[in-house]
Amino acid sequence: MSEASGSLRTLEADAAARRIRRNWLLSLPALALLLVGASGPLLIVLVYSFLKPGDFSGVIWEPTFNAWFQILFSRDIFDDTIGLADAHLTIFWRSVRLSLSTTLITLLLGLPTAYFIATRSGRQRMFWLFLITIPFWTNLLIRTFAILEMLRNEGIVNNALIDLGVITEPLQILYTDTAVLIGMSYVYLPLMVLPLYAAIERLDFRLVEAGYDLYANRVQVFRRIILPIIKPGIVAGSILVFVPSLGAYVTPRVLGGGKNMMIGNFIELQFGQGRNWPLGASLSILLLFIVMAALLLYVRASSREEPHG
């Protein structure tokens, strides 16, 4: 008896080991590509964050924690007192706030749009999918300029609002956070719609209809049937919108008028005109760790919720 259950256990262990090997083998090519083309070279940046800035570019190979110290504390250039680097905190907070708002807006607009596309019949679905990506085949910069053209004081948005009698004087939308928000929501919308579509498309509408037939009310149908299906899509879309928009660069610069930086612009400044690579490096490593920690927390929470996820 004990022998039999023992071999059964080995069989199970074998199957588990095979499954793990298969999963790793399937993931390895992607990991290898990322190691060469993205994550591996970032080690250079990690090393740089512990060095001194070079005189005109690059770094000097002298180890120091200065850059890390600079993130939180700054030496006042006039009286040499050391205080909290409030400029960094302001920039960080603005980035988080704008990115969260962008995620929310794209979700509110993207969910109905993805639902609409997913409920079309086969070939029409492809048509609508293409329709949502085609605007993004034109260059980002030129699209941003077009949005700028629309939001101008004499642009079509203001003219339309005046013609409709909503306002009498043109609104200064351009070069404000509102303009950045509009621009980012535009740029990141497909990043929300496509994963949502991929998730919603598998919704079995017979199931929903059955739910209605069983006299469940709308809220119940949504919570019990629809939500579990689209939740992975919402998560994927939110990650794809929130995380890259934290580091957005072109939109805040062009539509925000460059008066107020976001993290992406600030880090760019360090690698560009500011010529302080170690500070840029340490800031981006910190950002990487914060986002990674948030993602890990999410994975933890969701795997506790649904053990098979």
Partner: protein
């Protein structure tokens, strides 16, 4: 669909393989939208050389890429205050333009310059000034002052743009408060910071694209380069260019040959080629800046010979200063002020 996919894959495979070789090659790395295609065509015809042009958008990007190596460029066109950095880092080849045939065409004032003593490395591409552009239909007062953006008159409040060029803006402000370029004097820098912080709420934006927005009337005033203002004035005659009397930066983009260039002889030919007046005029006709070669005026478009953006008024000439290469200490201070300004 399947066949078109196949065709695309085939095209993609072709693109991966090496490009065809011409008799000679030259790889130029220059600012975007800055090189007259006709000039390149003429050079290619004259010397049977295939020229490849690649763009960059800032001095720092160019320097960073060239320092990293493996780029494949022969020629780069840094601004004057970046030339000593390239030289010090050993990135440039000493091509001795001063011994080239066409060197005699160079204006006297450009034959010996602080950033390249006796012209051992570089040849002028174009030079210009950084000043202010104002829409005179809105403001009719004195425009030859940095007060246009540092202490805007009531008519211009909320309608001023400042280009996000740290060096130009900080130095304009330094000159305005009576300081010197690259200073580390704290009392002066405090004035710089306070002036900028007090002025910022009166600005509309800090952005490029000034030619367009001056033309359309969106900016009533902006910190701007002279050539860009010239282009804007051709669209909007009310636009005028001011040379701040407190002091304004001069700059010169300079053609240099890289030490790891593969086509050194062609690169030298190019340096000599652009010191010819007719060729230099082609450069200016395209980007609307002066070039530094005597006799090129004869070949230039009529409107350039008298343009107030190109011909600096005698009285304001001495206020223009070439920016030196600032040491790291002042750079750190400038970045700190800049960060506070844009936070």
């Amino acid at each position: 669909m399947r066949t078109s996919l196949l065709a695309l894959t085939a095209a993609a495979t072709l693109a991966l393989s090496a490009p065809a070789f011409a008799a000679g090659e030259l790889n130029i790395y220059n600012w975007g939208n800055y090189t007259n295609p006709k000039l390149i065509e003429k050079f290619e015809k004259t010397y049977d050389v295939k020229v490849t042009l690649t763009d960059y958008d800032s001095n720092t990007t160019a320097l960073t890429k060239i320092e990293a190596g493996g780029h494949g460029f022969d020629i780069v066109v840094p601004t004057n205050n970046y030339v000593p950095i390239y030289v010090e880092k050993g990135l440039l080849l000493e091509t001795r333009p001063d011994q080239m045939e066409n060197f005699k065409n160079l204006s006297k004032q450009w034959q010996d310059v602080t950033w390249d003593p006796n012209r051992h490395y570089t040849v002028p591409w174009q030079w210009g000034t950084t000043g202010v552009a104002v829409d005179t239909s809105v403001y009719g007062g004195d425009i030859n002052t940095s007060a246009i953006f540092l202490d805007p008159p009531a008519e211009l409040v909320g309608k001023v743009n400042v280009v996000p060029e740290m060096n130009d803006v900080i130095n304009l402000t330094l000159f305005y408060v009576g300081g010197e370029a690259c200073t580390t004097d704290k009392t002066v820098l405090r004035k710089v910071r306070d002036t900028l912080m007090a002025a910022k709420p009166k600005w509309l934006s800090m952005d490029y694209g000034t030619t367009d927005k001056l033309s359309s009337g969106e900016y009533k005033a902006t910190v701007n380069w002279n050539g860009s203002t010239f282009r804007a004035r051709l669209n909007n005659p009310k636009v005028a260019y001011g040379y701040p009397k407190e002091g304004y930066p001069l700059w010169m983009d300079s053609v240099a040959v890289l030490k790891d260039a593969k086509n050194v002889e062609n690169a030298k030919l190019f340096q000599n080629f652009i010191m010819d007046p007719e060729n230099a005029a082609m450069i200016s006709a395209f980007a609307r800046y002066a070039n530094g070669v005597d006799g090129s005026e004869a070949f230039m478009p009529e409107e350039m010979k008298t343009a107030p953006e190109i011909v600096t008024p005698e009285a304001l000439r001495s206020a223009g200063k070439f920016l030196p290469t600032c040491p790291p200490e002042s750079r750190d201070l400038y970045t700190a002020i800049w960060t506070e300004l844009q936070k």
